[in-house]
Symmetry: C2
Subunit: 145 residues, 2 copies
């Protein structure tokens, strides 16, 4: 392994944990090009902000792509439905937000906005939101309304 730890494209990607997503293929990246942050839904949370703040402060990234995808299991009307599923499975109701995606476009816009407003990110002028079609591989940019 001779790659440097600084991502070659100075890019950080935030996307879903979905088993069907190959981040490198999705964004036409090579190993070493980008930091890859993934969670349920590809939502922007405090942990994502922590990761991006460190990525920018220590490893030179200055661009962020938030990529959600079609057919996401987080695409349900409300957090209550997700929390209730966890309660049924684990017998404990989560006190934290589940971050359901009621509206695909709206969720991407909200996540991009959260990054653009975060004081802990040194670089907020290159933050883009994209929707990835799992069937076709197409990426569609989601812009602010």
């Amino acid at each position: 392994m001779t790659l440097p730890s600084e991502p070659r494209q100075r890019l950080a990607v935030v996307t879903c944990m979905d088993a069907r997503i190959d981040v490198y293929r999705m964004l036409d990246l090579q190993l070493g090009d980008a930091h890859v942050i993934r969670n349920a839904g590809g939502r922007v949370t405090e942990d994502v902000i922590r990761s991006l703040a460190l990525s920018q402060a220590f490893l030179g990234t200055n661009e962020i792509k938030v990529v959600h995808h079609t057919g996401c299991a987080m695409r349900v009307p409300s957090d209550a439905e997700l929390a209730e599923g966890v309660r049924r499975a684990a017998d404990a109701l989560p006190p934290f937000a589940m971050l359901a995606i009621a509206d695909e476009q709206e969720a991407i816009r909200a996540d991009v906005a959260a990054l653009r407003e975060s004081p802990f990110l040194a670089h907020r002028d290159q933050v883009r939101g994209l929707l990835y079609d799992l069937e076709t591989g197409q990426l569609t940019e989601v812009t602010a309304q």
Copy 2:
């Protein structure tokens, strides 16, 4: 794309955002085999618990692998050093934990323990911690002391 959304190996992986990590190659997985959760360090946070709780409750995973790696940028003595770096870059001091990895083995043990103790996970009997050597590709299991 004809893969089902349920991970084929019923596995969820928690690992670092590091640009040099190809999760599928690291763990000899195929696309569709596992949920992949990544953040700075591969640390267990509330967002990781949220993601795993949903993975287990809705998509049938019952095994978790936490994989940290050699040469991680989070390998510094204290959170203060990381927070100060963010402050220098972004001019705002993060109020949240940065989750520095002062000791490689200890961090993995702590993260595995946090998962085993989480009431929101339906399946906690197959949680393993591993250290990935970026140079050699070797995985070493880290067991409780």
